[in-house]
């Protein structure tokens, strides 16, 4: 579903990804773990098309399409979702307005009709409820005044509303207390665990993987995949640290 082949990328002229190769088939959840500075967030941004994160070599195909040739909003319309490590505040725009415009923009790109105001609010309310988020929160400006945990929960509500084919979740578990972690984990399973979908979970720690069991675990270091394994690899990393495990 997502095929990354020998990907090289630079940020501000500095090489961060150095020949990363990774394949996530439909129906699978893969975890990417690795030490700070390994290039985990860069991978997320390159996949989503952030300006300034430049792919200098290699290829990425998503459902057979050349992902790197697409604009960020075209990637979203194609079914790619990036869960942000640090969700961004947009003052003056309510979550409801933001998500409705975004979703309808995606739908128009795909030749689907707009959701009406009523249909959208129903969808948004149900997704918020499933994530244990009060629907009133969605009337507030995007992420403004939200706690770290609330922002991450809101990212998952967004994912539920967008219902993407593939999600890249960048440290969605950081800053979450245990209840929020459980809710977020359940959300990922509910929304994304499906034969036609895929997930790339970027994380530092094993703890999210207690709730979302990965099919594969990869260790990212120095801009490439250093090691891959089954779920047991995450436990090994947790026990022994990245340096030991890599050796």
């Amino acid at each position: 579903m997502l095929e990354i082949t020998d990907l090289h990328a630079t940020v501000a002229g500095k090489a961060i990804l150095n020949g990363l190769t990774l394949s996530v088939p439909a129906g699978e959840i893969h975890a990417i773990m690795g030490p700070n500075g390994a290039g985990k967030s860069t991978l997320g941004y390159v996949l989503a098309g952030r300006p300034g994160y430049e792919a200098t070599g290699g290829a990425v195909t998503f459902d057979g399409q050349d992902l790197l040739g697409m604009e960020p909003h075209e990637r979203a319309a194609a079914g790619l979702f990036l869960g942000f490590q640090y969700p961004v505040e947009i003052p003056g725009i309510s979550y409801l307005q933001f998500l409705r415009e975004s979703l309808n923009s995606q739908r128009r790109s795909r030749g689907e009709p707009d959701l009406s105001g009523g249909e959208f609010i129903k969808l948004a309310r149900s997704q918020a409820a499933l994530l244990g988020m009060h629907a009133e929160m969605l009337k507030r400006p995007v992420n403004v005044g939200f706690s770290g945990g609330e922002k991450k929960r809101a990212e998952m509500v967004q994912m539920g509303i967008m219902n993407p084919k593939f999600a890249v979740l960048d440290e969605t578990d950081s800053g979450l207390d245990i209840d929020a972690l459980r809710a977020v984990g359940a959300g990922i399973n509910r929304i994304m665990r499906a034969p036609e979908k895929g997930v790339l979970l970027i994380t530092h720690y094993q703890r999210l993987l207690d709730y979302v069991e990965p099919d594969r675990v990869h260790v990212l270091r120095n801009g490439r995949i250093e090691r891959s394994g089954g779920p047991e690899l995450a436990h090994e990393l947790e026990r022994e640290g990245y340096t030991e495990a890599a050796a």
Binding site: E71, A76, I90, G92, I93, F98, S105, M162
Partner: protein
């Protein structure tokens, strides 16, 4: 207009016409015959205008006095604007649709004119009103087509409430004592060069009088529009709110595409008595000129309110996206004790546009309060200046002012400037001033785009969020229009 099929056809034709114009969506010229005043400006021009309007002697004298004063005055030079020389002899000062019988309602208006409104995207609510839909929200439209009011709706209902809502020409004939009492009482003839010019040659405009204790039963709305080539537009608006009355007035403008620069010098005067409240909202979208700055309207406007009575309140809200040059400072003279002045502004400039706009809050009475919220958005190679004065006079005890000026920059070739003047002569005053300048955030843009919005939609969204505090002050139908306008005005400005 009551025939739905006709409506649909009209809408389609209007849309097709609008689509033909790629750069300026609302740039079109309609084919209503004009009757021009001779080109140029002289005492004869002033007499021609006054005679055309069947004005009484005192009005002609008032105009001539202004004209003679104007000859002695100089153009303003202190604004941060690059104003090309204006040849006042190379313009027409009067153009009106050919005389037609007086109409009972807008239904009888020339379909050509209605088509123009259609193209302007008059809000649905008003279209319903125009179409006579039962239960439609009431908005009275005094249609200023070019220089003469063509028809006025809801006059009867307003009359029942005692509200006078007329073109100023009609008011001069029908309520001469009221007009004579208040005209020039807030903006004196010699106030400034452009106000003085307006006093001499004003073509038409609106007069509103709300009697004591009356809450105006509907929002009053006027559409201004420059329609004749080379026609200066000199609107004159006078709003008088008597004791304990309330009125909300909406003004929206857009102008057709034009190659030469056009001068627009309007004057708006608001007189608020004891406990009266006036809300004045503007969406201004005069033709801004092309991407190179060619053409476009010069908008030199004098808007001022006198909060004469105790506890009176005047609130200005403006969304300014148009004009090549904007020079405009809606102000409040807070004379009555406990009176309140508010100014909420969004000024957006793109390409080569220049705007120097802001407000003046003059605190004369005790316990007077003012609030200023200004949001400047600059894109392209434009220049956007907030210029504001807060003055507290020696006898004004316990004055409070809060000012917030935020500037948002799109790109690196535009300019944002904030020029606050604060003059406090009474130590009990509490004055707060906050100002920020920021560039549109790449984090926000990418976040919005990663959710599916293209770049233009993402920019429009972020800019609307930036302007929200001001937009929410607008009546609903105007707010929707203003939001769209911000997006349209920024198209192609990032990338």
């Amino acid at each position: 207009m009551t025939d739905r099929a006709t409506d649909t056809v009209r809408n389609r034709e209007a849309h097709e016409a609008a689509e033909k114009l790629a750069d300026y969506e609302w740039g079109f010229v309609s084919n209503v015959e004009q009757e021009f005043a001779p080109k140029g400006l002289s005492e004869d021009t002033v007499r021609f205008i006054s005679a055309k309007k069947n004005e009484p002697e005192w009005m002609l004298d008032w105009r001539l006095k202004a004209y003679r004063a104007w000859l002695e005055m100089d153009e303003v030079s202190w604004a941060k604007l690059d104003i090309p020389p204006i040849d006042y002899q190379d313009a027409y000062y009067y153009a009106a649709p050919k005389q037609k019988p007086k109409l009972g309602s807008l239904d009888e208006v020339d379909p050509e004119i209605l088509r123009v409104y259609e193209k302007l995207g008059i809000p649905i609510e008003e279209q319903k009103v125009l179409a006579g839909v039962e239960g439609a929200r009431k908005v009275a439209v005094d249609a200023v087509f070019d220089s003469v009011s063509v028809a006025t709706t809801f006059r009867e209902e307003l009359k029942k409430a005692g509200v006078i809502f007329l073109s100023i020409s009609e008011a001069i004939r029908e309520y001469p004592e009221l007009v004579q009492k208040y005209l020039g009482s807030v903006v004196p003839q010699r106030d400034n060069y452009f106000a003085c010019l307006n006093s001499a040659v004003f073509s038409d405009g609106t007069f509103v009088y709300v009697p004591e204790g009356v809450r105006c039963p509907m929002e009053l709305s006027t559409y201004f529009r420059i329609n004749a080539e080379n026609t200066g537009q000199f609107e004159r608006t006078l709003i008088v709110a008597d004791k304990d009355s309330y009125v909300s007035y909406l003004e929206g403008c857009t102008a057709p595409m034009r190659d030469e620069n056009q001068l627009h010098a309007a004057v708006v005067e608001i007189f608020a008595h004891e406990d009266a409240e006036v809300k004045y909202s503007t969406v201004q979208n005069w033709y801004p000129g092309d991407a190179e700055g060619k053409g476009g309207i010069f908008n030199f406007v004098t808007k001022r309110a006198l909060c004469s009575g105790d506890r009176s309140k005047v609130s200005w809200t403006q969304v300014e996206t148009g004009s090549a040059i904007t020079w405009k400072y809606p102000s409040c003279i807070l004379k009555g004790d406990g009176s309140v002045g508010e100014f909420y502004s969004v000024a957006l400039t793109n390409n080569r546009q220049q705007a120097d706009t802001g407000t003046k809050m003059i605190h004369i009475g005790a316990n007077t309060r003012s609030t200023i919220v200004s949001k400047g958005i600059s894109a392209g190679r434009s220049n956007n200046t907030y210029r504001g004065l807060v003055r507290v006079l020696p006898r004004a005890e316990n004055v409070r002012n809060f000012t917030q000026c935020d500037s948002l920059l799109l790109g690196s070739d535009c300019g944002a400037h904030t020029v606050p003047y604060i003059e406090v002569k009474n130590p009990t005053a509490q004055i707060e001033h906050e100002a920020t300048t920021s560039k549109i955030s790449e984090d926000q843009l990418f976040y919005a785009m990663s959710r599916g919005l293209d770049q233009e939609a993402a920019v429009a969204l972020i800019v609307n969020g930036f302007a929200r505090e001001v937009l929410k002050q607008l009546p609903m139908e105007f707010a929707v229009e203003a939001q769209k306008l911000l997006g349209i005005s920024l198209e192609g400005s990032v990338g």
